[in-house]
């Protein structure tokens, strides 16, 4: 047994110790998911730019195919094709509002990953925990394919495939397959697969539970097997396209990209793609026959195929839009899967909010009217009636509401306001509102243009095969 295997065993043991109360054994779920023999095959890489602080420290870790940006420490961990994007971390002197507290940030924030293993996971945003503003920690945590750890410090947790934890500190929790959690703080919780939960204490509480039999067709994960289903097949079928962009050192920039837009060199772009002003296309995004209007964005692991986005569209991490026409200001949440057909297109009206982890998969044309909230599993018009409502109607709810497998308690107006505020913030951070004339409103779309990339390599053989030497990268 080499050092990499010993490390993996120790990580799994750490997670199991944290989850012992829930009698969870992570080993059969993950043992074959981190391909030990592949850990030497892929380089890791990091971004450098004048606009992002740089402090990367790697120690006793495997980092195959992973990407790093910003201030990040990784020790005793295995990261496989994982993106750790520290471009939204807080800076010394920033102030953080939490309830009645106005908290000064005393030093630049860092992402600190210890004793953890991730497969094809995204780590992004910043710590929203007022107790740990300068350290976005992730320790004793395992996550598998296409999970998102977004602004969520984690201690002793397991995230299943396509699980997302957003703006939530979690301790000793299991986040089930294709579940989305945004709840501030959770502890010792086993979140069932297919749960979409958005909780703002004393304001609102939204919950949707997917019908598991139907969800199984899209994503299914059991111990001892790889994740299976349409979502995995979809990702696998486009793997080769990504291989090409990762294998080539220099990729010729595409013509006709506006000076105010950013197209990451690690994104796949298949003809014919039209990119508007202030558009952001992140690494591992996939565009094919797509139009992205002014201020639209496609974040990591997003796929936009045979689709048209009018402008100021947020396509959050992992969302997929296929054969669809999206009006202006439409938000599509994390890991959503929206699939029309060439002869049965999906149309989503302007200012709609598609909840994170929504599946719309249709065989007849379907139109979502403007200004609607959409959630859950939608395969036809009848499902749409059950799983959508006008935002204006939602805003009138003061106590509670339930429909189908969706449950809502609290203030609908606060829910709508919170979502709209966050969407605006995302667009702002991405540079959608950048004004070239007075150079105001810069965001990722403008700053990421000045990015260079370096690669680092693991030990190719020997006891440390697959692990990287200790590396410190600073300005």
């Amino acid at each position: 047994m080499n050092a990499l295997e010993k490390l993996f065993i120790r990580i799994v043991q750490r997670v199991n110790i944290n989850l012992r109360e829930q009698k969870f054994d992570a080993k059969p779920y993950v043992w074959d998911l981190i391909p030990k023999e592949q850990m030497t095959k892929f380089y890791a890489f990091y971004g450098i730019s004048p606009d992002h602080p740089l402090n990367l420290q790697f120690k006793h870790s495997g980092l195959a195919g992973s990407y790093f940006l910003g201030k990040i420490q990784v020790s005793n961990s295995l990261l496989y094709k994982t993106d750790v994007r520290g471009d939204e971390l807080k800076k010394k002197g920033d102030r953080f509002q939490f309830g009645q507290f106005d908290i000064p940030v005393s030093r630049d924030e860092e992402i600190v990953i210890e004793d953890s293993a991730f497969v094809k996971t995204l780590v992004h945003n910043y710590s929203h925990d007022p107790e740990t503003l300068e350290k976005f920690f992730i320790k004793d945590t395992l996550s598998v394919h296409y999970a998102n750890i977004h602004g969520s410090p984690s201690d002793g947790c397991f995230l299943g495939p396509f699980a997302t934890v957003d703006l939530t500190t979690m301790r000793d929790c299991i986040i089930g397959t294709f579940s989305y959690v945004q709840a501030g703080e959770i502890s010792h919780l086993n979140v069932d697969p297919g749960t979409v939960w958005v909780n703002s204490p004393r304001s609102f509480n939204f919950l949707y539970r997917f019908p598991l039999e139907k969800l199984k067709k899209y994503i299914h994960f059991v111990a001892g097997k790889q994740p299976e289903g349409i979502l995995m097949d979809f990702m696998e079928s486009r793997k080769q396209d990504f291989q090409r962009v990762f294998d080539v050192v220099n990729i010729d920039p595409l013509p006709d990209i506006p000076a105010t837009a950013s197209l990451d060199r690690y994104a796949v772009v298949n003809p014919v793609v039209e990119i508007g002003e202030n558009v952001l296309v992140s690494q591992r995004a996939y565009l094919e026959n797509a139009v992205l209007g002014k201020g639209a964005n496609a974040q990591e692991n997003c796929f936009i195929i045979n689709s048209w986005l009018e402008g100021n569209n947020v396509t959050a991490h992992g969302a997929k839009i296929i054969e669809a026409d999206m009006g202006a200001d439409v938000f599509v949440g994390f890991n959503s899967f929206l699939r029309g057909q060439a002869d049965s297109r999906l149309t989503i009206g302007s200012e709609c909010i598609v909840m994170p982890h929504t599946i719309i998969d249709i065989t007849a044309p379907l139109t979502v009217p403007p200004g609607h909230l959409v959630w859950g599993m939608i395969q036809n018009k009848s499902d749409l009636e059950t799983n959508s409502m006008p935002l204006s109607e939602l805003a009138t709810i003061r106590t509670s509401f339930s429909r189908g497998s969706m449950f809502f308690e609290g203030s609908g107006a606060e829910f709508v306001s919170a979502f709209k505020g966050r969407i605006h913030h995302i667009l702002e951070a991405n540079g959608a509102f950048y004004n070239e004339d007075d150079n105001t409103g810069q965001g990722h779309a403008q700053r990421n243009q000045n990015m260079g990339f370096n690669t680092i390599q693991p030990y190719p053989r020997g006891d440390h095969e697959g692990l990287f030497p200790t590396i410190v990268i600073q300005p």
Binding site: T195, P201, N205, S400, S402
Partner: protein, 184 residues
């Protein structure tokens, strides 16, 4: 308190309501009614039925709460309502969901008729380890066992046989009597 002995306070098992394994909830109720008729009417009513196996060994107890639980509708929807509690919904919200769903359900009389067909072993609770007490144990220990385990009664053993039931109500009466004698 030392003047009271467990054997004086307990209800002998011969006077307690019992049914055999395989009986229905309705038969358990009839056994309870019969035991009460034969019991001293001045004493506090029995509230539970013991379930015996073919060797006359106590294998469980059916209390009033178990009956109420048997009346609770059991289907995926109600399980879902209980399950979503962990996602920080308020009690009032869960109650409202249950009420709204119950409106579409069958009337109470039908639910009771169904509950009468339920086998006692499907709703009984097997006695926990701390629900047994030896007949020679002090009453102080019995009080501690009732209080710490939050039990309504204890099964009194002599050698390996269950010989009676020590009920919280009888222990409470003894305590109250002692307090009166102390002239507090």
């Amino acid at each position: 308190m030392d003047t009271y002995l467990i054997k004086d306070l307990m209800v002998p098992i011969s006077e307690y309501a019992t049914v055999s394994e395989g009986a229905t909830l309705f038969e358990a109720y009839l056994a309870l009614e019969k035991a009460q008729e034969e019991y001293d009417h001045n004493k506090y009513r029995h509230r539970a039925v013991l379930v015996l196996d073919k060797n006359q060994t106590v294998i469980g107890k059916v209390g009033q709460l178990d009956v109420l639980r048997a009346l609770e509708p059991k289907n995926e929807q109600f399980e879902l309502f209980e399950d979503i509690r962990k996602y920080k919904f308020s009690n009032q919200f869960i109650i409202r969901l249950r009420e709204a769903y119950r409106m579409q359900e069958e009337p109470l009389t039908d639910i009771c008729r169904k509950a009468g067909q339920i086998k006692v072993e499907d709703m009984m609770k097997a006695p926990a380890e701390d629900e047994f007490i030896d007949i020679n144990t002090s009453l102080n220990t019995a009080i501690h066992q009732l209080a710490s385990g939050a039990h309504m009664s204890l099964l009194v053993k002599k050698a390996e046989q269950i010989v009676g039931i020590l009920r919280l109500t009888d222990v409470f009466a003894a305590i109250f009597h002692t307090m009166k004698e102390c002239k507090l």
